[in-house]
């Protein structure tokens, strides 16, 4: 074998070995944005992905009474499930009351969570209108929006939650 052939064989062999080293199974099947959309539920603070629809506290009061009050109390006062209303000004006290109004930093979280997980015994059954409406009801009950204000994909991400400024992010550091 000439030196050239040896060199060529070496290159060929190295190439094969390299290909084997980076070969991965690639068994996942591609999926289109339209086909994955039913699973793409999450809504971040920028509101991207919020669905069409709307609702205000007025409609939300009815939804809340029918689907939420039996766990969260008629006025959102809690028991057996979390209290949702009130507690502003208590966080630094010995008996802090953490509610949507006193504690939650983003209004979009309310929509995201209600849509994915509420009501507890029938998650993912509320319509988009109902979800906007019940979010509006809880925000209005906390005095964060006006009772007549309509929540939709444009208005919800603009709601400024009063406790947001108290949050700070630890990662990538650590808390001492």
């Amino acid at each position: 074998m000439s030196m050239l052939k040896i060199a060529a064989a070496f290159v060929l062999f190295s190439g094969t070995a390299y290909a084997a080293a980076v070969e991965t199974p690639m068994l996942g099947k591609p999926i289109s944005p339209a086909d994955l959309a039913p699973w793409d539920l999450s809504i971040g603070p920028d509101g991207a992905g919020l669905p069409a629809g709307k609702g205000s506290a007025k409609e939300g009061k009815q939804v809340f009474a029918e689907k939420c009050a039996y766990c969260h109390g008629a006025e959102g006062q809690g028991t057996p499930a979390d209290r949702l209303v009130g507690g502003q000004g208590t966080l630094a006290s010995d008996t802090p009351v953490k509610t949507v109004g006193s504690f939650w930093p983003y209004a979009t979280t309310l929509f995201d969570f209600v849509r994915r997980a509420m009501p507890l015994n029938q998650p993912q059954t509320l319509t988009s209108d109902e979800t906007y409406a019940v979010s509006a009801y809880i925000l209005a009950a906390n005095g964060i929006i006006k009772p007549g204000e309509v929540m939709n994909a444009k208005t919800l991400p603009k709601v400024k939650m009063p406790n947001q400024g108290n949050f700070f992010i630890v990662y990538p550091g650590n808390l001492k």
Binding site: G28, P30, L91, N121, P123
Partner: protein
């Protein structure tokens, strides 16, 4: 106590002995002073030796005599719900070694344990990727796998130690949202590479298929470092309560980030700010400040033997044994005190000592029959030592609820009763 060379010299106050007392050998003459007691009963042939034993079973169960070893009393669920959110705890005080048996692994669910058919379960990877991909369980089972022994600890574990008065409770009740298993699965980095990560992606959202659609934002750096998409727990398919058929493992990170029943990963530029990373699993500190995205569970040690529920029957020799761990690396050392933290002795660490895994520690102790306060404190290989409780409370206040890694104190009364106290 009599000295035999140096080995029976106390290693610290109130009767702590050298950790190598029983490892070094050659202390026979000294050991006689540790034991003592009455003459044994005459021996008879036991009944079970005189007849054939039972036949085999397809899936083994613990001895019927170990029925007390369980995840506590299962309380009735709230009558308003079918099942709903809840948790059960690992009976740390009845276990030894570093591995939690699968049937005793702690459980936390945010809306019950889903009944998932593995043939229909899928994992979707999408968002900031070149190719959104869907994997079946059959697909994932063909991937190259990695195994690692890792603890999982709920961020709410040991939360009772924030309370102003020391809560009564066993090691299980106070610290049992903690378990350790060998987890086997596919490195998440491999699946993300196949999907093609967009350079703009910095975070991902991991979501479960349960009725809470439990979801958490995870830094992409963690996903690419040591995250596993797990199919197996201690050699068998993951138990339904721990995420069957697929769960995320993020070694050292707060428990619920290890998303169970995993079915979706979405790559994003920023965190999604889900309910369970804003209103829950964040720490309310002094002056109303809130620490969010504290992920790693810092170093901690807990004495499991003796612990509340044990009754020391007589003075003399006891082995103090417990668990130590750190979400930041390996356990470097565990120190034990029998006098409420005045003096400390090094405990022996049982091999293997693994990063982000439970580590068993042991130290021999001679109880004189007088009141004692037992403590253990862990130092990890970053040099960090867990704090005394008053130090932690001074830094964070008592409203933080999560990530309590203060030193636990067990008091031993003169009558041998063991209780949780603040010391």
């Amino acid at each position: 106590m009599k000295k035999t060379g140096t080995s029976l010299e106390p290693a610290a106050g109130n009767g702590l002995l050298h950790r190598r007392l029983f490892l070094a050998g050659g202390v026979g003459a000294g050991l006689a002073t540790l034991g003592g007691g009455a003459q044994a009963e005459p021996l008879a042939i036991p009944e079970w030796t005189k007849k054939p034993g039972a036949w085999f079973t397809a899936y083994g169960q613990p001895s019927k005599y170990e029925a007390k070893v369980g995840r506590g009393v299962i309380v009735e669920h709230n009558p308003l719900y079918e099942s709903g959110p809840g948790s059960v705890r690992t009976p740390l005080q009845f276990l030894e070694g570093m591995i939690t048996p699968n049937g005793l692994h702690f459980e936390r669910s945010h809306n019950g344990i889903p009944d998932i058919d593995p043939e229909q379960h899928k994992l979707l990877i999408h968002g900031l990727v070149k190719r959104p991909l869907v994997f079946t369980m059959e697909d994932l089972a063909r991937y190259p796998m990695t195994s690692r022994i890792s603890f999982v600890e709920c961020a709410g574990n040991s939360g009772a130690l924030y309370a102003k008065d020391a809560a009564a409770g066993t090691a299980q009740a106070l610290h049992g949202l903690l378990s350790c298993a060998e987890w086997t699965g596919v490195p998440l980095a491999l699946l993300l590479d196949e999907a093609g990560v967009d350079p703009k992606a910095q975070w991902l959202l991991a979501e479960g298929a349960d009725a809470a659609s439990m979801s958490r934002s995870v830094p992409l750096a963690k996903a690419m470092d040591d995250a596993l998409v797990c199919l197996y727990q201690n050699g068998e398919r993951i138990r339904p309560s721990n995420g069957y058929p697929l769960r995320l493992l993020l070694p050292g990170y707060q428990g619920n980030m290890n998303v169970k029943w995993l079915h979706r990963i979405k790559l994003t530029t920023t965190p999604t700010m889900t309910k369970d990373e804003t209103s829950k699993y964040s720490l309310l500190l002094n002056q109303g400040k809130v620490a969010q995205f504290k992920f790693q569970l810092d170093a901690k040690a807990v004495i499991t033997k003796p612990s509340p529920g044990f009754q020391l029957k007589q003075q003399g020799f006891y082995e103090i044994s417990g668990l130590a761990w750190s979400g930041n690396g390996k356990v470097a050392k565990v120190e034990v005190s029998a006098d409420g933290g005045k003096t400390w002795a090094l405990a022996a660490l049982s091999e293997p000592v693994l990063s982000k895994a439970l580590t068993r520690f042991r130290i021999p102790w001679h109880w004189t029959g007088q009141a004692a306060v037992l403590q253990a404190r862990c130092t990890d290989d970053t040099g960090y030592t867990q704090p005394a409780r008053d130090v932690l409370i001074a830094a964070r206040g008592n409203r933080a609820a999560y990530h309590n890694n203060a030193i636990t104190s067990w008091s031993i009364a003169a009558n041998g009763e063991v209780k949780h106290v603040y010391a």
